[in-house]
Structure formats: C-alpha cells, structure tokens
C-alpha cells in the first residue's frame, strides 16, 4: 500500500474565480501581502503496490482532472 497525492490546479492562463474570491477577501480581513491565490484540488489515494505510474497518470488525466483547463501532478508520498 502506498499513499499517492494528486494535485490538480487550474491552468495558469485560465480564470480561477475561486482563488480570486479568496485573494479579494484577504485584504478586507486585514491580511496584506498576498498577491495571488489559486485554488485547486488535492486527492489522496491509497494505492496497492502493483499500480504503476502510467496507470496513476491515466487516472489523473481521465478522471481527476480535465487537461483542457487543469494541470496535475502525481506524487507517491513517503509512508
């Protein structure tokens, strides 16, 4: 068993209304110095040892992210 983390973030050139909403709220709450916020998703998967990297990439690409608007990174986390 391994823990795998998949980070899915909106592409840089794509509008990110969620991150935008946070970025706009921060100064109103008195937090300055944060110039940009982007919000994405984080998936944590418990994966059997025989699942290979290609399969994980495939899962990320077809199910967890839509590559048209999102980038993703797959990492095997240290247990």
């Amino acid at each position: 068993m391994a823990r795998v983390v998949v980070d899915v973030m909106p592409k840089q050139e794509i509008l990110d209304p969620q991150g935008q909403a946070v970025a706009n709220a921060l100064p109103r709450l008195g937090f300055d110095g944060i110039t940009e916020v982007r919000q994405g998703k984080r998936f944590e998967l418990e994966v059997a040892d025989d699942v290979d990297d290609a399969t994980l990439a495939n899962i990320a690409e077809t199910l967890l992210a839509n590559p048209v608007i999102e980038d993703f990174v797959v990492r095997r986390a240290e247990a």
């Binding site: 050139e13 794509i14 509008l15 909403a21 608007i69």
Partner: protein, 769 residues
C-alpha cells in the same frame, strides 16, 4: 505555420498599420485562422493593403461562420420577407439586435433569445454549459432588461453510452451551477437522447428578460466624444480563437491551430461576477447613465467594438492599453480576440463618466474608459501608441462574406420516406400493451426529467408559477396586476430528419401548443438552428427547408420570429446530427392565477377530454424508436389552423374556469400524456378508449394538434358545446379517479400508480447516479 511576422510584442515589434503598409508581402497565417484565400484577398482590397495581425484576428473571428452567418444569411432573409406588418406590430426590436423584444402591454416589454454552446460543452462539459448560460444572459442584459428566467434545450448521445455519462452530468451541473448562482429560475428546456448526438451534444440556452418599454437599450455608439467604457471582468487568455474554432472546420486541431500558443479554447465562467454585473447594469440603466451597450461574447472586443461602431453614426477610437488585463504579455490580437466572460461595453456621455464609475465602485466592478466615439469613419485601435487597427467597422461587423452554398435534396430522402413506420409489428394483446406503456414510460426520452431539473433552482425570485414538469414555464411579471409570460422550447429532430420542412413546422406547433396549454397566448418566436456542415449540400437542403417551414408556419400562426442563432458543423466525422431546429415560443397571460396546471386531481370530479384528432401516425415516433429502433416514413401531419383554434379554446377555457388541468400530447402519444398527468397530479384515472378503434393507435400515435384536458364535471357541457360550436374535434376519454391510485384503461390494462412511478422516475437516476 508558414513564415510569419514577429508577434512577440514589445515596442518595435508591433505589427502596426504603418508597418503593414511598408511590408505588403509578409506571409500571413490566414488559413490557420479559418479564412479562405478569396476572403483574405477581400480584406486586402477593403484596406488597400495587407491587414495587420490585429486586423487579421478581428476579420477572421468576425467573418467566421458563427459570427457572420455567411452560409445561413441568404436563407435567414426569408424570416424577414415573411413577417407582415401586422406580425411586426408588437415587436420593439427584432432580427439584427442582440435579442428580440416584444411589447406585452401595461408598459412591459419582454426580450428573449436562444443560443448554442455545443462544441465547448463537449470539450469541457461543466464550463462549456455554464458559459453558454452566461453568454445568453449578457445578450438579454444588453437590451436593457433584467434577466428573469432561463431554459435549456439539451441533446445527448445514447443514454447508456459511456461518453454520455461523462458529458451529461457535467453539462447539467454547469447549467445549474451558473444559472442557480445568478438567481435565475430555470423554467424549461429539453433533454433528448439520440445516437446522432454522440460526440456532438447540443447545449442550447434560452434567457428571458423583462423591462419597462422606455428602458429598451440598443447597441450603438453615436455622439462624437462619447466615451467607450469596458466594465466587468479583466481580459485574459481564455477562449482565444474560440469563435473561429466553434464554427470552423478545424475543430479537432483547435488547441494548437492557428499558429498560436497552445491555449485552451474554452472559457471558465464566474457566475458571481456576472450576478454582480447584472445588478450593476440595472443600476446604471435606472440612473440613466448609458447611451448604448453591448455584451462581450463570441469574438470579444473585436465583436463589441466593431458592432457598436458599425451601428453608430461615426467612427471610434480605442486604446487597448486601457483594457485591464489578467495575463502578462498579451498582444493586441489576443486582447481583441479574448473571450473572457462577464464583460460589457458601454457608450457613455462624458459628463456622466464619473457617476458611471461610482455605480461600478458600489458593486466592486472594474471599469475603464477604453476609447471614444469620433467623427471619423473608421474604427481605430491603438496598442502601445501604435495604430494597429484602422478599418471601416461595417466591413468587419456586417460585410462579411456571403455564401450561396449548394443545396441538394439527398436521394435517400425517398428511401427513408418509403420505409413506412405504420407497417412495423405492433403490440396487440392487453399484456403486450401494458408492457409497452411501462417500457415507453421508462425509456430515456420519455421518462421523468427530475434528475436533471432537480438540479436547477426554479423558485428563486418567487415569481415562478409553472415550471418543470409543465408543458411550458410561466412567470409572473407584475405582482400588482398578475400579468405574466409563458415560454416553451421544442424540436423533434426525428421528424425533421424525415421531412425538414414539416419537422420545423411541427417544432413550432409543439412549442406554440405548449405555451397555449398553460393558458397563455403565444406571441413571438426565437430559434436555435443546429445542423451539420453547411458544406454538405444535403445538410444545406435540410437547413433551407427548415427555415422555410418555420417561417411559413410563423406567418400562418401570425407570430414573428424575433431572433435566433445558427450552429453549423455539428457532426462527428462525416456523420451530421439530426437536423435540430429548436424553436422557442413566448406567450403572455394577463392573470397568472388562471394558469392551467399539468396534473389532474385538482378539482373534485374531473372529466378527461381529448382535443384534436388521432390518426395512424408512427413515422418518427418514439414508439418506433423504442420498439424497433426505426426511423422512417413521414412525420405526423401539421394543421396550423387547427393549432390556432386549439390555442383559442384553451385560452377561453382557462379564462372561464372550464379547464382544471391540461397536458399536450407529443412523443409517446396519449399513453404517455395519461401517465404523466396522473403521476404529476398524484391522482388515478379511468380511461375508456373510443369504441371500435385500435387501442394501440389510440394510445401511441403521435398525431399533432392534440391536448388532453381535465374539465370539472360541472363545466363539461359548457366546454364541449364550445368545442363543437367552434369545430374542434373532441372525445371524452375518461375521468380522474382520486380514489383508485391506478391508471385503469378499460379493456386494456390497469397499472397501479406506484408501478408507473417506478418506471417513469427510475431511469435517469439509475443511469447517472
């Protein structure tokens, strides 16, 4: 890509007008942008030089099929030619404006329009559908109206296809996600499954807006010195080239096509930004701060600036450095083509600019003066102090190419017509008929849409009088007087496939009937014409026939087409979708408290009366599809005079309290109408079919021009006398039976309502979770 100019931006690298004059031989990537050789030559002739890169970007998007209507224009003219002065009498704005506007009385005007967002919704279902809703809502706002409702006619591949599982939930969530967040009740639409939409779903979206007649705003930039203000979201790299992609043959290669950076062709919507923009616009209108206004949709600033300038009386000067950007390093062509959502462009008197800005600040909406109206002739656009666009605006906005595409009736139409559906093997025993009723009720095209419509807010703003599952949506407009409107959208593309002329008329007839079934009076028409490739003469024939059919039918019913939209290139490889001219009808109702509900059982003791005539008509029917996967023969006959009479009877009946429920008969015929009216009303019924008639034909034929009505027993005689006197065929087919909790069709079968409900409601949740 061939050799091209250095577009890297930065001073000295800008492809200015001066530079274009001195470098006539630069090789330009016009083909990658979807322009044909002769179209490019025409641009050179108009300008007397080669276009700059920014100009090329503008012309290419504005001359795309989507924006220029180059293949459809010659046919669409027919709508205007068939609209009489009498039909035009209530029209305050029509074809050529962002959306049609009709006067509904008491000083109220209603604007409505349908648009497509098909291809983007296939690539990114959620965002594609969401931005489709966002786009049509801005069209309505641009007329000066408050958007008050949306509807969403949708078409998908087979319900059980894996790709439909990917596409449908995302599209439904996107329509809901955007519309719900805007606070617009969703009061209608369609969900249709057919093999032909696999790989090419249709996402059409309708928006309705309301205003006082004096608040009507038309898009034009007149008055020298007036300021051009861009307000709303910042401009980013979204959907660059999207419009040419939407409508061009390069759909497959869009991500890297056009010699551009690898940029996504889809846009991401921010419904919250749009909600705030709506309130901000209404505030601006009410404060009288606007001379002209235009939404930014397909083709972004290219479209907004050229259309505003073309509709005005002078020229316009725009400074792109004043456009607030979201991305670094954008060049002029990209700023002009960006399809960033949630933006509007206003023309404002200089003395009102400060006040305008104050309203925007209140709503936290970014606004910048980006230019002004000039007394010149041209649209001049500057970027980093260089003149990068200098064009006569009408040549961009209106004088695009016009094609007389070849039109040819395909030979196979005769074969299809000869493949008579009335000869298919039919159920005949009571058991077979019972099974057919249940199978039909559970089939994807007839089953309950609740899985979809439950994801849409139909209550917000508290004026929704009827919505799903009623035939039409009804909205109260004026709380004092009870005045309201009704809308419906329809199209049975199987009929259109069999006979596009008749099919389009049937689509109109059904939408018209659906509006009338709510107790409203149909008034005006919009459409969204979804077809395959215009370069296919067979598709062009379908298109031409559908336009003629629709226009002729509108003339006969006396209600005008006030606007619409064309979507071509809906095909997967060589396989075009079924020709799908979606028709939307708007009606008015002077007192919403007399709207007619769909479910029976509202009154103690109701007689069920079938209005209209039932013939043996199975061509294109849902039964032929479900039972035999068959599409052939001829569609049901249309009788528009009959539809008109039917509408008048429904109106009179509802006015005088003679009708307590009504449901229009369409796909699935009488059987389906009975199932639905009983389940919606949670009331059983006893049905007696006409003696001697074939029960299968009575139950499943799809003859047009029929409505099932429930009449309180005390009104029965008065109502049937009225029908007889006016020459409308009617037949008593049964009674509502609150005690029975079953649908009892005598001599055929009795089915408990819970069993029917399980069949009708189970299908979509099972398929989509």
């Amino acid at each position: 890509m061939t050799d091209t100019i250095d577009t890297a931006g930065g001073p000295g690298h800008i492809d200015s007008v001066d530079r274009a004059k001195t470098s006539p031989d630069v090789d330009q990537p016009f083909r990658e942008l979807g322009l044909k050789d002769d179209e490019y030559q025409r641009i050179r002739e108009i300008l007397g030089r080669r276009p700059t890169e920014a100009e090329l970007a503008m012309y290419s998007v504005m001359w795309s099929e989507h924006c220029s209507y180059k293949s459809s224009k010659v046919h669409l003219k027919y709508f205007g030619e068939t609209t009489t002065d009498e039909m035009r009498a209530k029209m305050l704005a029509g074809i050529g404006e962002n959306a049609g506007v009709v006067d509904i009385g008491d000083g109220w005007a209603v604007t409505f329009k349908l648009e497509s967002h098909n291809h983007p919704s296939y690539v990114e279902p959620y965002q594609g559908a969401a931005t489709g809703v966002g786009g049509i809502v801005r069209d309505i706002m641009a007329m000066g109206a408050r958007p008050v409702a949306v509807a969403d006619p949708l078409r998908f591949g087979p319900a059980d296809a894996p790709d439909t599982k990917r596409v449908l939930p995302g599209i439904v969530a996107g329509v809901g996600g955007y519309g719900n967040c805007l606070g617009l009740p969703n009061i209608g639409g369609e969900v249709v499954f057919d093999e032909s939409y696999a790989g090419n779903p249709l996402v059409n979206a309708m928006c309705v807006g309301v205003m006082k007649t004096e608040d009507l705003h038309l898009a034009h930039a007149s008055g020298k010195g007036n300021k051009i203000i861009l307000f709303g979201a910042r401009t980013g790299l979204d959907g660059i080239g999207g419009v040419s992609v939407l409508a061009s043959e390069t759909f497959d290669g869009d991500e890297s096509g056009g010699g551009r950076k690898k940029l996504p062709s889809v846009q991401v919507g921010d419904p919250f930004a749009e909600k705030v923009l709506i309130e901000c616009c209404l505030d601006l209108y009410h404060s009288g701060l606007i001379v002209g206004i235009q939404d930014l949709g397909g083709a972004g600033l290219s479209c907004a600036t050229s259309e505003l300038a073309a509709a005005g009386d002078g020229g316009m000067r725009v400074d792109l450095d004043q456009v607030p950007l979201r991305a670094a390093g954008m060049n002029a062509a990209e700023i002009l083509s960006s399809e960033s959502q949630e933006r509007m462009c206003a023309v404002v008197d200089p003395s009102k600019v400060d006040e305008f800005m104050k309203v925007c600040q209140k709503w936290d909406v970014t606004a910048n003066v980006i230019g002004e109206v000039t007394d010149g002739e041209n649209l001049e656009i500057y970027w980093q102090d260089e003149l990068v666009v200098d064009v006569p605006p009408r040549t961009v906005a209106h004088h695009g190419p016009v094609y007389q595409r070849p039109v040819e009736r395909p030979g196979e139409q005769d074969l299809i017509a000869a493949d008579n559906a009335n000869t298919l093997a039919r159920p005949s025993t009571p058991d077979e008929l019972r099974e057919t009723i249940l199978t039909m009720a559970a089939s994807p095209n007839l089953c309950s849409r609740a899985w979809v419509t439950d994801q849409y807010d139909r209550y917000v703003r508290g004026n929704t009088v009827l919505a799903q599952p009623s035939d039409g949506g009804v909205l109260r407009i004026d709380e004092e007087t009870g005045r309201g409107i009704a809308i419906a959208t329809d199209c049975n593309a199987r009929y259109t496939r069999l006979d596009p002329y008749t099919g389009a008329q049937l689509a109109l007839a059904e939408a018209y009937r659906n509006v009338a079934t709510t107790g409203a009076t149909p008034m005006a028409v919009t459409n969204c014409l979804n077809f395959g490739s215009p370069e296919d003469p067979g598709v062009m024939w379908q298109f031409q026939q559908a336009v003629r059919g629709l226009a002729d039918a509108c003339a006969e019913l006396g209600i005008p087409v006030t606007g619409g939209n064309v979507s071509f290139y809906n095909q997967t490889g060589q396989q075009a979708i079924l020709p799908t001219p979606v028709v939307g009808v708007l009606g008015t109702i002077d007192d919403v408290t007399r709207r007619i509900p769909t479910g029976i059982g509202g009154e103690e003791g109701e007689t069920l009366i079938l209005l209209g005539e039932t013939r043996e008509e199975f061509g294109g029917s849902e039964w032929a599809r479900v039972a035999h996967d068959h599409l052939g023969g001829t569609p049901p006959k249309v009788d528009l005079a009959r539809e008109k009479l039917l509408a008048e009877i429904l109106l009179a009946g509802s006015r005088d309290g003679m009708i307590s429920a009504a449901h229009d008969l369409s796909e699935g015929g009488l059987a389906q109408a009975l199932v639905e009216t009983a389940l919606v009303g949670e009331c059983g019924a006893r049905v007696v079919l006409p003696e001697g008639a074939d029960p299968f034909v009575q139950l499943f034929s799809e003859s047009a021009g029929r409505v099932l009505v429930a009449v309180p027993r005390s009104e029965e005689l008065r109502f049937t006398d009225m029908c007889t006197a006016r020459g409308l065929p009617w037949a008593k087919v049964g009674v509502a039976d609150a005690g029975s909790n079953s649908l009892d069709i005598q001599d055929v079968t009795e089915i408990p309502l819970p069993e029917l409900r399980e069949a009708w409601e189970g299908t979509l949740p099972k398929l989509f979770g």
